[in-house]
């Protein structure tokens, strides 16, 4: 290829960015290496043995799955609904749209803090006040429904993203097609299923893929709210590695867990890129 000099900068740095950490992670995963008790010793597969016999691991994997699919379902459903809503004109639509996309600009740490303190707090939070006003017992969200609370926060941040992608897609839909279907007597629901939805398939698959990438590494929202707890109730794979590596100083174990995370991500990536390459 005579164009390789143009490809080289980005391909080169990405190659380094991929291979160097990967090789090092593989190397450290075979070491008995705790930063508090150096030096490193060759440990064989002992880290993996520990990892796969850690009773927390099934919970951690399950939490990761919930933290990907929970927000995915919420944001895609709300995104479709909101996009349909904002597709038609109404007074002040521009300003309303500006308000809807606001959460996307809020950094995850701030979003999590706001929800944690001002909304979910069992005594002074707005939700507990609302629950009490309705005569209910106020819910302590982060101790009784920690996962639901985290899913709500993540979904709030990413619903605008879904809405915007789908709204842009809807606005490129040929109006005559809908009009024709309407004149043929198709009801709103069947117009949606047979005309609108097929048009949205491609943006939907891109949206789902991108959101999966972001949700797989959910971290800040957990860091400022639950710290993975109570117990391991909201510990996903990134947070598990964080707590093992930087809090437990166990480089070997954290590296083994890192490889595990890469494996999970690759299984999912394989599935998506295969589907997506049909659309490219």
């Amino acid at each position: 290829m005579r164009f390789w000099p143009l490809l080289l900068p980005s391909v080169g740095v990405l190659l380094v960015w991929m291979i160097v950490p990967l090789v090092m992670t593989v190397w450290y995963s075979l070491q008995n290496y705790n930063l508090q008790s150096p030096p490193a010793q060759f440990g064989g597969l002992v880290n993996f043995e520990y990892l796969f016999t850690d009773p927390d691991i099934p919970v951690v994997v399950w939490n990761t799955v919930v933290l990907v699919f929970g927000p995915l379902v919420v944001t895609v459903c709300l995104g479709v609904a909101f996009a349909l809503l904002y597709d038609g004109p109404f007074p002040g639509r521009g300003i309303a749209r500006l308000l809807v996309i606001t959460p996307f600009f809020v950094m995850p740490t701030v979003a999590a803090l706001v929800w944690k303190n001002l909304f979910f707090h069992p005594v002074w939070g707005l939700l507990s006040w609302a629950e009490q006003s309705l005569g209910m017992q106020p819910i302590d969200w982060f101790s009784s429904h920690p996962m639901v609370a985290v899913v709500i926060i993540v979904s709030w941040i990413w619903t605008p993203f879904a809405t915007l992608i789908l709204l842009t897609a809807l606005q490129s839909l040929d109006r005559d097609q809908i009009e024709a279907a309407r004149l043929d007597g198709a009801k709103a629901v069947s117009r949606f299923i047979h005309v609108v939805l097929p048009h949205l398939m491609r943006p939907l698959s891109v949206l789902i893929m991108l959101e999966t990438i972001f949700f797989l590494s959910t971290y800040a929202e957990i860091y400022v709210t639950t710290m993975g707890g109570p117990g391991t109730a909201t510990t996903n794979v990134p947070f598990y590695i964080f707590s093992r590596a930087l809090q437990g100083f166990d480089v070997g174990l954290a590296s083994a867990a890192g490889l595990f995370a890469i494996l999970i991500a690759n299984v999912i990536a394989f599935f998506f890129t295969k589907r997506l390459s049909e659309h490219l």
Binding site: L6, L7, S10, V13, L14, M18, P21, L22, M24, T25, Y28, F82, L85, Y86, F90, P91, G92, A96, L98, T102, P103, F104, F105, V106, M107, T109, V110, V114, N117, F119, V123, W129, L164, I165, T168, A169, E179, P203, S205, L210, I213, L216, S217, Y219, A220, V224, P238, I241, F242, A257, G258, A261, I264, A265, F270, F272, T273, L276, S277, L280
Partner: protein
């Protein structure tokens, strides 16, 4: 488009629904902004206070405890430079893939995407140890490089989708005139796709501004961005909601205003070429 008359009821529903959704989605930010101007007592009052005597004492207290401008400057430097470098690296590659596609192109793009799928935690320990060895922990340079690399795949992908929209004949004309690839890129392609490049840059900057994982783990007081400042402020002043809200408001305000102003551009960029 004009819908048939008699759909007035639907219009009312749409207006009501549209505004309801807008108010609900923006409410947490609004409520936080209010809390930033409350006294601590008012912020924790039950029942919640919608009307109160506003105060600026939280912002004063925040600026005494957090080096706001220092962290804000870090955020600006990191998000701007990482995005600019990423675009500079990505543009030539996206040009080749869009106009001189070969059998390898598709695999190359999928490979780049698969790197973005790699969880950052997987690379945390090696990167951390490398930075320790290079004595680069808590430096802006390290954060710029890492942010740039982690956004690079998405930026290549977005630029590719914008370049793809340009008819090849236009570049063909340039080639007839003897323009080398880099010249075609600079003088023909960049001006033609400027809106697309702008929205790519906007999204890159927003992602970089809000990035928290690397920031929390490899930076501290020196190179930390606002995302780190707010996380550590929350650890030390967690129970002072009004002050925390003031710090939060101050750390999202720049990107929020930036985002609101540029949202039309951004909307285009968000579709990643998913919309023809």
């Amino acid at each position: 488009m004009k819908f048939a008359a008699g759909l007035k009821k639907q219009d009312v529903l749409r207006t009501g629904g549209g505004w309801l959704v807008a108010v609900v989605m923006a409410f947490p930010v609004f409520w936080m902004a209010l809390a930033a101007f409350k006294t601590e007592q008012d912020a924790a009052a039950v029942p919640p206070k919608l009307f109160f005597e506003p105060t600026l004492e939280n912002f004063v207290a925040m600026s005494e405890r957090v080096a706001y401008w220092h962290h804000a400057w870090n955020s600006i430097v990191v998000s701007f430079s990482s995005t600019l470098i990423a675009i500079a690296l990505a543009a030539p590659a996206a040009y080749v893939m869009a106009f001189h596609a070969s059998k390898l192109t598709r695999s190359l793009m999928l490979w780049m995407l698969s790197i973005r799928f790699m969880p950052a935690v997987g690379a945390l320990i090696p990167i951390y140890l490398i930075l320790v060895a290079l004595d680069m922990l808590d430096t802006r340079l390290a954060l710029v490089v890492i942010t740039c690399l982690s956004n690079l795949p998405l930026i290549v992908w977005m630029l590719y989708s914008y370049f793809k929209e340009v008819p090849p004949e236009i570049l063909e004309a340039g080639r007839m005139d003897g323009a080398r690839p880099l010249k075609q890129l600079w003088y023909l392609l960049l001006p033609l796709t400027l809106p697309g490049i702008a929205s790519t840059g906007l999204l890159g900057m927003i992602l970089a501004w809000n990035e928290a994982f690397w920031c929390i783990n490899i930076t501290a007081t020196n190179a930390g961005t606002l995302a780190l400042a707010i996380a550590s402020f929350a650890n030390s002043e967690g129970q002072f909601w009004a002050k925390l809200s003031a710090a939060s408001l101050a750390s999202i305000a720049p990107i929020l205003i930036f985002g609101w102003i540029t949202q039309r551009q951004l909307v285009r960029g968000l579709t990643f070429g998913a919309v023809k």
